[in-house]
Symmetry: C2
Subunit: 227 residues, 2 copies
């Protein structure tokens, strides 16, 4: 008799990175519990992509939590602030963009931690990437390390010394082109994912926001077609 597979919580926005991260967790033999958030984002369309990817990957469960970060505002993704368009790579490389949502990854990881604890899972996957888009403080390796350390003190398992919570960030040091290549190897259906910060009412990507431009650049550099 085979042992039941280990459970992993996989944060899933419906974008290319989180979808690739989920596919990796699945390839590595985890039973995946996908977690998405309706947080008041202007690109709520991504939740449809998340549902499609979760179904495609055959996750054990997909939860979408309501967490109204628009109550705080302070970001172009959750408040009435324009999403920057047509920025150059140089512009993207400097400073923290206005699309940064304060403490978003900290909050998302904390819900993942709660679910992991209830499911007695010790593995959380998050598709953060520090290379192509270093502007977000909560995508940096030093943040992830500090989070993991905190998580192991926050939980029952940590106190009882039963298990060690691990935050997996397999995409952390990959370029967007490398992520595209990896996604192809893992048969991630590109067409089901959604990256745009400012899509039309029908979900069509704007083609000009940072997320669209980085995605285009990644596919171009990988020499792979985005479809």
């Amino acid at each position: 008799m085979n042992a039941s597979p280990k459970k992993a919580i996989c944060l899933l926005s419906g974008g290319l990175d989180s979808s690739t991260c989920l596919a990796l967790a699945r390839r590595d033999g985890f039973a995946c519990y996908a977690l998405s958030f309706d947080y008041g984002q202007r690109h709520k369309f991504e939740l449809e992509a998340a549902a499609r990817i979760a179904a495609h990957c055959g996750v054990a469960r997909h939860l979408v939590l309501q967490t109204g970060l628009d109550a705080f505002g302070g970001s172009a993704l959750t408040a009435d602030i324009a999403v920057p368009k047509a920025r150059s790579a140089g512009e993207m490389a400097h400073g923290i963009p206005i699309t940064y949502v304060p403490a978003r990854n900290t909050i998302f990881l904390s819900f993942a931690l709660a679910w992991a604890e209830v499911l007695e899972s010790s593995d959380i996957f998050i598709g953060v990437n520090a290379l192509d888009y270093s502007g977000y403080p909560d995508c940096r390796p030093e943040f992830i390390e500090a989070y993991e350390r905190m998580a192991n003190l926050a939980t029952k398992a940590g106190v009882e010394g039963r298990t060690r919570m691990r935050i997996h960030t397999p995409l952390l040091s990959l370029s967007k082109a490398q992520i595209v290549q990896l996604a192809q190897e893992l048969h991630v259906p590109f067409g089901l994912t959604h990256s745009c910060y400012d899509p039309g009412a029908d979900g069509r990507p704007c083609g000009q926001c940072d997320a669209c431009l980085l995605r285009q650049k990644g596919f171009e550099e990988a020499g792979i077609e985005d479809r």
Copy 2:
């Protein structure tokens, strides 16, 4: 001209501890932004207490966020699990009680961090207490220290080195009796606060859960009447 007061985010459940913590932040000159959570707790009545206390303390703003932790379950406070009653002090001192809500303080602090970042505040107050009720992993000083360290890597201010986020835990090492005494000095209106995990439909405390028993013990030892 006086400078504007510094802003603080104060986590407020409506219980005696968080109310005392808020009163302390106010005494120390902070403009207080109170944050409460409708997280699917069985003692939702505490939110009425939180609103009363926030109004009494004249907070700058009181936000109640919906964060359905009952989606995960795993606790007597958020799932269909009985709240333990009439436990002795010895029973309470051992192990992690079933009223522990996985990752609750981690999640609450993360929302406070988001709000702090948007308000450009560097001060978060939480009324955790490690002495009388050491069973909760996320009430221990080592957890708070690790959280603070992580918070300073998670945020814009942390990256830019502008400011240092501080998690204030003024009640951490106080006994319940000491908290009652402090609350009296600060003129916290005891009657407006609510501690019970399992109140009646009218909000009346059960008198037998751990929270009720600890509250009674605190008032008895302080020689102060709870009214």
